[in-house]
């Protein structure tokens, strides 16, 4: 085996992506938890921690650029690096969606929730599970697992529809809660976007392994 340092650096980059994915998944998780428990402090914490996610994205990007400039990666290595560049952009945006949820929680502030949250946490759970599976598929270069992840996006889309209509009904019945209901539609929208970006990760994984660009799940939104 030649070019050991180079291949080690490539491997480390993949570990970095996994690390960044963990931070993002935690951010999503706690943004929903904080919303459910009306925990403003945690929401502030999430906003602060998003800086770390952003910084990590730039660090990884920089490492990719250095490898491209110095090692002239080809074939699967080149595809891995371009996949990483794309995945970290998606992860960074997912972090922003989690941060968005945290900001919404702060905006809701002292007001009580208009309904107990059931479907929103459900959406979050599915999204987080999808994220974790997509990153596992990326690391293990498992095309089949990547394709499977994308199918789950339909569940998230369906939940988003359901939540949206439910909130619309609540608003029609009680115009005083329109602002609060709107906040929750934003949360739902953020979670829908997160799941959608997970499918991008899965698509990149398929490309990295096979060299073929496939659109795996065309989101409704």
């Amino acid at each position: 085996m030649v070019r050991e340092a180079y291949h080690k650096a490539l491997k480390e980059l993949q570990d970095d992506v996994l690390e960044m994915g963990k931070l993002v998944s935690q951010a999503i998780q706690s943004s929903i938890e904080a919303l459910k428990t009306r925990d403003i402090e945690t929401s502030k914490e999430i906003i602060k921690k998003d800086q770390e996610i952003n910084r990590m994205r730039f660090d990884i990007e920089e490492k990719c650029i250095v490898l491209i400039a110095t090692q002239q990666p080809l074939a699967v290595d080149l595809r891995t690096l371009t996949a990483i560049l794309s995945i970290i952009t998606d992860l960074e945006r997912m972090g922003d969606h989690a941060e968005g949820n945290a900001k919404i929680n702060i905006m809701i502030g002292e007001e009580p929730l208009i309904k107990p949250l059931v479907d929103i946490p459900r959406m979050g759970e599915i999204g987080i599970a999808m994220l974790e599976k997509s990153l596992k598929a990326f690391i293990e270069r498992d095309v089949e697992a990547a394709r499977r992840v994308c199918n789950e996006d339909d569940k998230v889309d369906a939940l988003h529809d359901q939540i949206y209509h439910e909130l619309l009904l609540l608003m029609m019945n009680n115009p005083k809660i329109i602002h609060l209901a709107t906040y929750l539609t934003w949360v739902s929208h953020n979670l829908e976007r997160i799941a959608d970006r997970v499918t991008n990760i899965a698509e990149r994984t398929v490309y990295m392994v096979t060299g073929e660009m496939e659109e795996l799940n065309v989101s409704k939104y």
């Binding site: 085996m1 030649v2 070019r3 180079y6 291949h7 002239q72 990666p73 080809l74 074939a75 699967v76 290595d77 080149l78 595809r79 096979t210 060299g211």
Partner: protein
């Protein structure tokens, strides 16, 4: 710098200039090429890559019968240029080498002036008129992207030029014969990046009129200039495809391992 990508992206198929059919080549008992079959496209740049000793030079030397000069060699199979078997006994080898020019790894200008180097072939072929020779010299040097650098010292010794300039004199010398095909065996291995870039630009320019075959150990160079790339290992053609395909998604594991440095 010019780039070959645009042309190869078009997936323009051109006619084959050369057909190599089940070519086997032996140095004594040593089988150096084990049944190579490939077409080389007309007015395209085809690169041959592969580890040392895999037979790249042997193959390109077969294309103008340079190997005939080596003792104890044997060739089986067939090579056709413009549809004609070049190993047919009726073939005039001198005529063949005029049609298929060659440039070597180390610049090897003759110890003569730049001018005399370039017009050497046409002179040997009997061109005597100065105005015609002058014209050939200017055209060939222009093609070889050297004219502006040497036009004021055409009658200086070619040996006084830099390595990169000498290599371009050799390319001009090959082009002055108006070949159909130009073979280059690692033409840039002794050159700095600037001289290399000049030669690469020139190659992309050359393919408008010529079919170019280049052997290179520099995979980035193959990726930059060529339209098609063949990867060889131990006398076999492992994979042959459009360059962009071969370097982004090779089909064979052995190609992948070699170009990503997981080989050996």
């Amino acid at each position: 710098m010019r780039c070959a990508i645009s042309s190869s992206k078009l997936k323009k198929k051109s006619n084959p200039a050369v057909n190599v059919i089940d070519l086997k080549f032996y140095y004594g008992d040593n089988l150096a090429l084990n049944g190579i079959t490939l077409d080389i496209s007309e007015k395209m740049i085809t690169a041959f890559i592969g580890p040392s000793g895999c037979g790249k030079s042997t193959l390109i030397r077969c294309l103008n019968r340079m190997n005939d000069l080596i003792e104890g060699v044997r060739i089986e199979g067939c090579i056709k240029i413009a549809g004609k078997d070049i190993y047919d006994p009726a073939i005039n080898v001198t005529e063949l080498r005029k049609r298929v020019g060659m440039v070597f790894q180390k610049p090897n200008p003759f110890p003569k002036t730049i001018y005399e180097n370039v017009v050497y072939g046409p002179r040997v072929l009997g061109v005597k008129k100065k105005s015609i020779l002058d014209d050939i010299c200017e055209k060939a040097l222009t093609r070889a992207a050297l004219w502006s650098e040497v036009k004021d010292r055409l009658h200086f010794s070619a040996l006084e030029l830099s390595g990169g300039q000498q290599q371009r004199v050799c390319i001009a010398r090959a082009i002055a014969m108006e070949p159909e095909i130009v073979l280059l065996d690692e033409p840039c291995s002794a050159l700095d990046p600037i001289a290399t870039a000049k030669i690469e630009d020139m190659l992309v320019e050359l393919k408008k009129d010529y079919t170019v075959v280049i052997v290179t150990h520099n995979m980035q160079q193959a990726a930059r200039v060529s339209d098609y790339t063949g990867f060889f290992m131990m006398g076999e053609l492992v994979e042959y495809d459009e360059t962009t395909e071969l370097f982004t998604k090779p089909k064979k594991q052995r190609t992948e391992d070699y170009i990503t440095g997981r080989f050996g």
